[in-house]
């Protein structure tokens, strides 16, 4: 057992221990806290697997935003704990579920141990075709050029989720501001943190977007950091959540998929296929799409976290 393998085994044991805690903890709030720690340890596994872009995305979206979402939901639902705990299913269901889960887990273990050798891979194909875009980061190449259709549809899925959340508002509150009014002390600690951290966070978010062309990073990771800064400023009471009926909100939300669609249709009309980038303009087009995408991802993730509109003023 080398040191590297020992480290990996310890990391896997810690992560699985946290997963057991999340499933078995008594209070939901404690389970949500465990989820934040889980979302921050998983990226270490992703780095060991050589996927630094995924590690950044998992830390920001899974651990960061997901953790905040579930923690705040657990806090709001605290009063239902006792009532629901009375509805725990009986022993037979627990046993059946345990056996079923064990069967699924064991089949996956068998899959892992009998994966084909030599491993099939698309890495050579991705590297061969990377001259088409001129970007240095192979994952960005795949996201923005080779599987650009998936990324476009993913933006649309984000928008649909947001529309789904907005549709939960009562009729008379449609178009209002999401979330409660945060009345933090403007000279307090949280406001200080927001004032100090926000400019730093914006610079870091934009840097992650820009560096994603050649190094690990990208539009999703950068957009998530920007969304987190926006949420921090809203929580510190330094700005209020926007009314969702405002035009600039709507424009920012559709900017990403909109630019993507326009470039794609341009590729159809001027090139040879939907989302085909002309070779000379590939990199500027991709950068333009990524900038629009970052703004949209930041706005969408921020508004997803804020929830349905709760007040008019």
């Amino acid at each position: 057992m080398t040191i590297a393998t020992t480290y990996e085994v310890l990391l896997a044991v810690m992560v699985l221990g946290l997963a057991v805690w999340i499933v078995a903890a008594r209070e939901t709030f404690a389970a949500a806290e465990g989820f934040v720690a889980y979302g921050l340890l998983l990226p270490l596994i992703w780095v060991r697997l050589g996927s630094v872009d995924v590690a950044l995305a998992e830390a920001a979206i899974g651990g960061g935003l997901g953790g905040v979402l579930l923690l705040s939901a657990a806090a709001r639902l605290r009063s239902t704990e006792m009532a629901v705990a009375a509805a725990r299913p009986g022993r037979t269901l627990h046993l059946t579920a345990a056996i079923f889960s064990a069967i699924v887990a064991l089949s996956l273990v068998a899959v892992v141990l009998f994966l084909p050798e030599p491993a099939p891979t698309l890495a050579p194909t991705a590297v061969e075709n990377s001259a088409a875009t001129g970007l240095g980061n192979p994952v960005t190449n795949v996201l923005m050029a080779f599987r650009a259709m998936d990324t476009l549809l993913e933006k649309v899925v984000l928008l649909l989720a947001l529309v789904g959340i907005w549709s939960l508002a009562p009729e008379q509150l449609w178009g209002g501001r999401p979330g409660p009014r945060h009345e933090a002390d403007p000279r307090g600690v949280l406001a200080f943190l927001a004032r100090l951290l926000c400019p730093l966070g914006i610079v870091i978010g934009l840097y992650v977007l820009w560096a994603g062309a050649d190094y690990p990073g990208g539009a999703f990771q950068g957009g998530t950091i920007l969304a987190a800064m926006w949420l921090l400023v809203m929580m510190a009471g330094l700005t209020d959540a926007p009314e969702i009926i405002r035009r600039w909100v709507r424009l920012t939300l559709v900017a990403g998929p909109g630019v993507f669609l326009v470039v794609g249709l341009g590729g159809l009309l001027l090139g040879n296929a939907f989302l085909a980038y002309p070779a000379a303009y590939a990199k500027p087009l991709i950068v333009a799409i990524e900038i629009a995408m970052t703004l949209t991802v930041a706005a969408t993730l921020g508004l997803l976290m804020a929830g349905p509109p709760e007040r008019r003023v």
Binding site: V189, L190, L196
Partner: protein, 97 residues
């Protein structure tokens, strides 16, 4: 020269790990929220600081070293703020019964 740097790294990182251990034991064993926060800040400030200090000689360039220091600064900022906020709520709730 590089042996001396490695020794510095090992000593500093081990010191940092000790403070993390102490902070975790404090988190688990101290009786109430305020004392636990006190233990946690030792882990944040001293533990992470010593680890970053130990990793500085191994950094590939000055810019990487500055990034490590920036990480430490950001964790300090977040830790200090959150400790203040939690302590405020703990004080409002009053001492445990």
């Amino acid at each position: 020269m590089s042996v001396a740097l490695d020794v510095v790294t090992i000593v500093a990182v081990s010191g940092g790990a000790f403070f993390f251990l102490a902070g975790t034991i404090g988190l688990l064993r101290f009786p109430d929220t305020l004392t636990r926060l006190h233990a946690l800040t030792k882990a944040d400030n001293l533990g992470l600081g010593l680890i970053v200090l130990g990793l500085l000689p191994q950094a590939a360039s000055v810019r990487d070293g500055l990034k490590l220091l920036a990480v430490w600064f950001l964790v300090l900022l977040a830790g200090a703020t959150v400790s203040q906020l939690i302590a405020r709520v703990a004080r409002q709730d009053g001492p445990p019964g």
